[in-house]
Amino acid sequence: MTATLPAPAHDRPARRARRGTRTGVPWLALAVLLAFALAVAWPGALAPQDPFAENIAQRLSPPSTAHLFGTDELGRDLFSRVVHGARASLLTALGALGFAIGLGLLIGLPAGYLGGATDRVLMAAVDVLLALPSLLISLIVVSGLGTGRANLALAVGLASVPALARVTRAEVLRISTQPFVEAAHGYGLSRPRILLRHVLPHSRGPILALAALELATMVLSVSALSFLGYGAQPPDPEWGTLIAAGRSYFATSWWLTALPGAVLAVVVLALHRAGRALGATEVRPV
């Protein structure tokens, strides 16, 4: 990271502290995320080959210039399948994020703003979700709702609701004591209006930062649950499903498991980087 102003030599601790709290624009991570956004919106632009076209003569061929990631047991181009799989994997994770943010706001905003008994009841409900590891929550939901991508999104999203609700509540508590909120009260604005137009916009920074990190976790959870067989069904390409399918051949064809997993790790790293650039510091332990 290059500093715009030359810092004096004796200023090292201060400079180090600054570097720890604020990071520059993560151009590389942004470029990676843009590439994945393109893969979701228009996979044909990145991978012109048909992800479903079988070519038995070319089955299980290792990575080459013709097949960047090699081919699978039916001779389908793995790179195409990974690029087209981005839609299933990432859209499911985005759906989960949408659900988690929605429910998180629905719980966190009234809890922080109204306080008192409302706050205690809502936070106690959220704490119940924290009493189970997040993967277990997702598994229970999948078990109740059945498999499929939409159910998977709900299952994964629910596991992130506690974190988002807690951050929202903490932010609302912090913003609500600011003088401008008091001024809005003085003008006689209604409480929902103050909450949505004045408090919420000022809380969005930490919520967005956490959302980036949670999205990374969700991408991992969606792929893990798909790997277990609860998500997209073959032949639809999805990253976890691709890795699960590659297991049958992975003694001889390493690329079938290794390369989709590497792509998955790149997305997660880019999202972590973006989250840190937005100011997130928390790493969830489980």
Partner: protein, 326 residues
């Protein structure tokens, strides 16, 4: 402030125990309604599986089974009767196999306990060593490189990491069996692949703690008085930074519990995680409910234990809780 320490300490323990019971009850309630109140007919699914897709059962068979499992009773009544059964230690009967749930759990529990124990034994010292090594010289090139290791480990899908380990150490080098191995050699790869993602989070938190403590004034004072850095680091910095690690070890147990689902599937080991995965697939609600409540019991018990232990380890917390609760 500290006039009646014994009584307030007892009150603190009681409060925590009550909280523990409430959490368990709530987990049961939430799990029960998620599993039973949602659409999906487990009995039809069960008959279809048992007859291997040969068209399910007759309506009479369905009705008889529904009656046997009490699925015709209204939901609140089933909620209460299941709760009562759980409290007397009756975990119910599996929809899928028709066998009692405790029997199913007991058959596979030893494998999971061995795996989880081995993973914890690997993860805790490994994260300790890696964190101490990383934070030894803040700002040094070693720190800048090593600090990325936990972040990288946390970004990698756990099931993929397990598969890579198999590829390298089992197919490539031939050191360990790839799946289902017996005894210690068969335990190494599953334990390592379960331990690595867990130690990522542990290490990250510990490194942050160590880095923070090093900026404290007393460290500068000790250094100014001429203590060798190694002594300051190990005896003073590490000791102060270790406390969050104790809390996190509790959370680590939760991570290990959840991780067994993936690890046991990848390595085709019989265990609670794999039983859970297959029960989720067949919507075998009694088994899923039993495992969820059991997992919550272990998870909450470990957290309760660390909560109660922490004031014994850290006098500052002791005074604070006494003051707040008295």
């Amino acid at each position: 402030m500290n006039t009646r320490p014994p009584r307030s300490a007892a009150a603190h323990v009681l409060r925590r125990c009550a909280h523990f019971a409430v959490v368990l009850f709530a987990v049961y309630t939430v799990s029960f309604f998620l599993l039973y109140a949602l659409p999906g007919d487990p009995v039809a699914l069960m008959l279809e599986r048992r007859s291997a897709g040969a068209g399910g059962g007759t309506p009479e068979q369905l009705a008889a089974l529904r009656a046997r499992y009490g699925l015709d009773d209204p939901l609140p009544q089933r909620y209460l009767s299941t709760l009562g059964a759980l409290l007397t230690g009756d975990l119910g009967t599996s929809f899928q196999s028709g066998r009692p749930v405790p029997e199913l759990l007991a058959a596979v529990a030893p494998g999971t306990l061995a795996l989880a124990g081995a993973a914890l034994v690997l993860a805790v010292p490994f994260s300790l060593a890696l964190a101490l090594l990383t934070s030894h010289r803040p700002g040094s090139p070693a720190h800048r490189i090593l600090v990325n290791v936990p972040a990288l480990l946390a970004a990698v899908p756990a099931f993929w990491l397990a598969l890579l380990l198999v590829q390298v150490f089992s197919f490539g080098l031939g050191w360990f069996p790839s799946a289902g191995g017996e005894g210690l050699p068969g335990l190494v790869l599953p334990a390592v692949s379960l331990a690595l993602p867990v130690s990522a989070a542990l290490t990250a938190v510990l490194v942050r703690g160590l880095d923070d403590v090093q900026r404290a004034g007393f460290v500068a004072l000790l250094r100014a008085r001429g203590l060798p850095w190694r002594r300051v680091y190990l005896a003073h910095v590490a000791r102060n930074a270790l406390l969050p690690f104790v809390t996190l070890t509790g959370l680590t147990v939760g991570g290990v519990l959840a991780g067994t689902v993936i690890t046991e599937t990848v390595f085709a080991r019989a265990g609670l995680g794999r039983l859970l995965a297959s029960s989720v697939e067949t919507q075998d609600a009694p088994v899923v409910l039993a495992i969820a409540v059991l997992a919550a019991l272990v998870f909450a018990a470990v957290n309760l234990l660390t909560d109660l232990l922490l004031p014994l380890l850290d006098p500052r917390l002791r005074h604070r809780t006494d003051g707040a609760r008295a």
